[in-house]
Amino acid sequence: MLKVGNFGTFYLLLFLFVLTLLSIWLVRSKGMKVHVRRLAGIDAINEAIGRATELARPVHFTTGTMATLYGEEGPQILAGLSILSHIASQTAKYRTPLVVTVCHPSTLPLAEEIVRESYLKEGRADEFRPDMVRHLSTEQQAYASGVQGIFLREKVAANFMIGPLYADTLIIAETGYRVGAMQVGGTGTKTVQLPFLVAVCDYTLIGEEIFAAGAYISQNPEQLATMFAEDIAKFAVIALVLIGAIVTLFSKELLSLLKL
């Protein structure tokens, strides 16, 4: 049955599962309204696309390199793709050229489908072209140089990099700066890339803001409910950290007794 070492994981999953169900129930049955604070990076998407439309230059989107959809960072790729859906809808609406580049081919069919669906929803199915979504290379640096080439040749006006970003982030972002693109960057767990994003991009989505973006854009009540569940969990984490800090401060022996 359950291994002793996994009890902590089990309780965490159970806690979050119950919290999520409870939040969805509160929204559905009790009409609870969940408000998400303003995410400047998401609000800037429309501004960036508008600017690209005026300049008649393309919009670029990437979920980064190295990570695969079925790997540990798959959820971050999915979070990025949920933002791609919104971007593609906007570019379809305003007839702005869109270039989506993917590094790992497992993301390719999904990205293509998302862009196609978005164009279909906006009634611009005939304007969708498969070469809007391009797989450049699975090799990180080859991908970065391919994106650089696209930026310099096609003079991209808006660049969105949202997902698990690796070392190529700065290469792409700096090239985007050189061509005068407005840039929005965001990453979940790749915290070492955040300083580069903050330094070079106009707007940055930090940590779990990329997971909130999908709910923020769609304003779907049930998705917002899960944000509420996350926030409750965060308060629980804060409480645990404070308790742990106080206990550590006052008694090392007590801490070893509490060790799970």
Binding site: L13, R134, Q141, T191
Partner: protein, 210 residues
């Protein structure tokens, strides 16, 4: 295609496989463990096909560029396809352990990858000079922390001024570590809740319908 096929089946498969992998984590039984191992094998097989898909896509895209004689691009598409198929031909016929394949890797891959990676150093400099300007309070804090961390990173600095050399590592060890841990915890919570949404069928981004 009906809603059942386009929506319900994929959601159902995602939920069943997700629950299976969670149960495997808790080692509830041998059947669950072996089923999960089988699913992982399927993932490896599918990822192999995904790589093939990538190669096909790249070939199709660049053949199109050559066919259309896209200005400024089509000669490079020829080069790309020639190199790609040379690698495939050598790798398949002589294996990746052969001297020829190793030579191709050493002569082309390694130097090109390193050149691109080394661009980071130049770009860091130009980005830093632009970003580290004392425009407002946050920018001043950013600037000071960056300078102190760079000073702390200089290999010889501890022998010049041990006090100055300790501030940068302290910034990395204390506030940065704390901030990173906080970010990682919240990102992990976000990932778990995304997973729960997927299991509940509330997350449809992977259906192409975000």
């Amino acid at each position: 295609m009906s809603v059942l096929v386009r929506r319900s089946f994929p959601l159902g498969i995602a939920a069943i496989v997700g629950i299976l992998m969670i149960l495997e984590l808790f080692q509830v039984g041998k059947e669950i463990t072996s089923s999960a191992a089988m699913v992982r094998d399927w993932v490896v097989i599918i990822s192999g096909f995904a790589l093939c898909l990538g190669a096909v896509h790249v070939t199709g895209f660049h053949v199109n560029q050559i066919r259309k004689r896209t200005a400024g691009r089509w000669p490079f598409s020829i080069v790309l396809l020639a190199v790609m198929f040379s690698y495939i031909a050598v790798g398949v016929s002589l294996t990746t352990m052969s001297g020829t394949y190793r030579w191709l890797y050493d002569a082309i891959n390694f130097p090109l990858a390193q050149v691109m990676f080394s661009l980071l150093a130049f770009y860091i400099f130009s980005a830093a000079v632009r970003a580290f300007q004392a425009r407002n309070f946050e920018a001043v804090a950013f600037l000071l922390c960056a300078i102190l961390v760079v000073i702390g990173n200089i290999p010889s600095m501890p022998l010049i001024s041990s006090a100055l050399a300790q501030i940068g590592p302290w910034i990395l060890d204390v506030p940065t570590k704390g901030a990173f841990r906080g970010l990682l915890i919240t990102a992990a919570l976000g990932i778990i809740v995304l997973g729960i949404r997927t299991l509940l069928g509330r997350e449809t981004a992977y259906l192409g319908r975000a």
